[in-house]
């Protein structure tokens, strides 16, 4: 992703005149990219290649190096029984996997859309001039600054059915008729995960949108005020179109994050089928069940799904990463 940003902006700078100077800068830029590309290929490229390789083998954690190549068996294989019935096996025929895919998609769509709306509201408030704005801006970032494991554990206690403060408050205020076991019951487990994720990442969304809002020139609003345009119309006709590039970039960061969610769910509701995501299920197969190759196949599918969705999003949303208008 980072490479795209940089490589896309370099030709844009040198497009008009291919002078000696700009060519020199282009060469320098390439050299500056080298350490990052090396680092990326070591920490991201190599592990990715390894897990793709393992997904085509029968590797197990007790014997990683003696793995043999078995083709697409971990993805899909079938046997025809004597009765003529075809039995499909492998990740692509595994209902637990598709349940995890569905959970992940549901989580990503719900959390990112709620975070985008809330983040926009927060950003609009923070963009207004008021006393103590600096302090509020800093304070709102606190949830984002807390490590996920810590905030997940903290919320697990707050959501606890017997000792949790949420149930206590709800009962005292009369909002709840009885204590709710948020993380235990399949109906509320996803809601609990969503609440924590939204609490945690709305500040991030707000910050990125705020950066976009501050780039909008004030005089446009003055002109609109003079023409007597209603504030709501101003938002939809001026603010939203102008902040759109920043918003789109913020959303894609969050989608990437949401699709690979692991830590929050692992701490909050580790084994609940209602919240098991693609990352959680592949970890389970990789380490707990000793299906290392099978788990690798799931990781590879996870990578492919995220890649395809990202490409689709960038293409359909006409996202540009240089911050320019469309």
């Amino acid at each position: 992703m980072v490479t795209d940003v940089l490589t896309a902006s370099v030709p844009a700078a040198g497009r008009k005149t291919r002078s000696e100077l700009s060519q020199q800068r282009l060469r320098a830029a390439r050299w500056f990219l080298v350490p990052m590309l090396v680092a990326l290929s070591v920490v991201a490229g190599w592990p990715l290649a390894r897990s793709i390789y393992f997904s085509f083998t029968d590797a197990s954690l007790n014997d990683l190096y003696g793995a043999e190549f078995i083709g697409f068996g971990n993805y899909l294989r079938w046997t025809v029984l004597d009765s003529g019935v075809v039995r499909y096996r492998g990740t692509l025929a595994d209902p637990a996997w598709w349940n995890a895919v569905w959970n992940t998609m549901r989580f990503a769509v719900l959390s990112v859309s709620i975070e985008a709306v809330l983040g926009m509201l927060v950003a609009l408030v923070l963009n207004a001039e008021f006393r103590g704005r600096g302090i509020v801006r800093a304070a709102i970032l606190i949830p984002w600054a807390i490590p996920t494991i810590v905030s997940a554990k903290m919320w697990a206690w707050m959501l606890n059915d017997q000792f949790g403060i949420l149930n206590d408050l709800g009962m005292r205020l009369g909002l709840l008729s009885q204590k709710v076991a948020w993380t235990a019951s399949a109906d509320t487990a996803m809601t609990a995960v969503l609440i924590v994720d939204i609490w945690k990442t709305t500040p991030f969304m707000a910050l990125l949108i705020l950066a976009g809002l501050q780039m909008i020139p004030k005089d446009i609003y003055e002109a609109a005020d003079i023409d007597g345009v209603h504030p709501v119309k101003q938002f939809f006709k001026i603010t939203l179109p102008l902040v759109r590039p920043a918003l789109m970039v913020a959303i894609i960061f969050r989608i990437l994050d949401a699709l690979r969610i692991f830590d929050l769910i692992y701490v909050l509701t580790p084994n609940s089928a209602a919240t098991k995501t693609m990352s959680v299920i592949s970890r389970e197969n990789l380490f707990d069940f000793d299906n290392f190759a099978y788990g690798s196949a799931q990781s590879t599918l996870l990578f492919l799904i995220i890649a395809i969705l990202t490409i689709l999003y960038i293409w359909l949303g006409k996202v540009r990463f240089d911050g320019g208008d469309r």
């Binding site: 007790n62 709710v180 580790p270 084994n271 380490f287 707990d288 000793d290």
Partner: protein
């Protein structure tokens, strides 16, 4: 004081000069409940004093499922940082390749331990781990409440359900709104496998996968047992029980908010601590029996062991530590301070042990008849079998399908997993 220290110093130097052991730096992992880590530290201090080695504890989460994933990863990577692992009784067949054979080192001491426990830690003739303590759960009950409401200690699950409901209703009517009848381990994890295995076995429903590898779980008694447990949720047990592990259940119990609790003996000593609301107001009994053909009381065999990593840079010192932790001295202190069940038969008639944990006299028989989880017949697949089983039970408890429906699906899944053979 000074003379004592001097003596200790002299003795240590004598052992060092005697060349009995080179001082080594060891680390061991332990995920424990309650005050387990503090206890372990006190024992390790003694070990350090005796041997001159230093031992660092790496604390881990108390959930056995969480620990297992991490250990498997470390061992697969040949991690040299951890010398000694504290292992669950069910792990031996899955991790046997990664641990040292202790047969020779422990030749003199294995005879003192119960043969069944040594057998459970022996894989293909290799002694994978030494037992530190064994575990068989108990029904904790509130003596004061049973007396107040004129009830007997229940001997069947049905009786337990009725008594729990009655006392809970009566206590709530008196304004104790937080009161529940029964708490157990209902989270979707290994602990639920233990709980559910007890229900199924006590109803005569077999033990999920039998010793010969047959999948036996889909039967009417097993379904009746799990349906009974499902009826507790939202009545005598809180909804949140679906997310409780050992420590959450103990939390509710120790605040005085439950009439009954199913838990391991470690909770016995902790419930008697000074800040406990149930101090002096409880006792333990064997778990209730089911009803129907082949019914009886059943307890899942638990217990923890110490194993030495084959990647340990200092195996001799590590084996020394493992032998120390399994020794009668440590097991005795463990029995007194942690109320963990010893694996050495002689300790069950030890006066000091029985003074601290009087219930242990009765426990000898209970754990000798305890049901093992099907880790031996299912071998490397055990974790997946257990996960499928606890998921089916958790679904039933949460009201997703009846026990009969879920057990039928479970049987199909287990058959797929088994293939031709485990």
């Amino acid at each position: 004081m000074k003379i004592n220290k001097l003596l200790v110093g002299l003795l240590t130097s004598v052992t060092l000069v005697g060349g009995a052991a080179q001082a080594a730096e060891l680390s061991m992992v332990s995920g424990d409940t309650g005050t387990g880590l503090a206890f372990l530290q006190s024992q390790l201090d003694r070990f350090e004093e005796q041997t001159g080695h230093t031992v660092t504890i790496v604390p881990m989460p108390s959930s056995t499922s969480d620990q297992f994933g991490q250990y498997r990863l470390w061992l697969a990577a040949g991690n040299q940082d951890i010398d000694v692992y504290q292992t669950d009784v069910i792990w031996a067949p899955q991790l046997a390749d990664q641990f040292l054979d202790l047969t020779e080192a422990a030749a003199d001491v294995v005879g003192a331990h119960f043969p069944s426990i040594i057998e459970s830690q022996t894989v293909d003739g290799k002694l994978v781990a030494l037992p530190a303590f064994t575990d068989a759960p108990a029904l904790f009950y509130r003596t004061d409440l049973l007396e107040k409401h004129g009830k007997q200690v229940p001997t069947t699950w049905e009786e337990m359900t009725a008594t729990a409901q009655e006392i809970m209703d009566a206590e709530r009517a008196e304004g104790n709104a937080e009161m529940y009848g029964f708490v157990f381990q209902g989270n979707a994890y290994e602990g639920l496998t233990c709980n559910a295995l007890e229900w199924v076995k006590s109803y005569g429903g077999g033990q999920v996968v039998e010793a010969d590898g047959t999948i036996s779980i889909n039967n009417p008694q097993a379904a009746a047992a799990i349906d009974m447990a499902a009826s507790w949720i939202g009545t005598i047990s809180p909804e949140g029980n679906l997310a409780y592990q050992e420590e959450e259940a103990r939390g509710v119990w120790q605040l005085g908010n439950a009439v009954f609790m199913r838990n391991w003996p470690y909770a016995y000593a902790l419930s008697n601590s000074d800040d406990s609301a149930v101090k002096g107001k409880y006792d333990v009994a064997p778990l209730p029996a089911g009803t129907g053909e082949g019914a009886g009381s059943a307890a899942t065999l638990g217990g923890w062991n110490v194993a030495v990593s084959k990647y340990s840079p200092d195996p001799e010192a590590a084996i020394e530590l493992a032998l120390f932790l399994a020794s009668p001295e440590v097991q005795k202190e463990r029995a007194i301070e942690q109320s963990n069940l010893p694996t050495i038969e002689a300790l069950y008639s030890d006066a000091d042990v029985l003074a601290a944990s009087p219930f242990m006299a009765d426990w000898l028989e209970i754990f000798q008849n305890a049901v093992p989880r099907p880790s031996a017949p299912t071998k490397a697949n055990y974790n997946e079998v257990s996960s499928l089983f606890w998921s089916a039970v958790h679904n039933t408890l949460s009201g997703n399908g009846t026990a009969a429906e879920n057990l039928e699906l479970l049987e199909a899944d287990l058959t797929d997993l088994k293939g031709d053979a485990w």
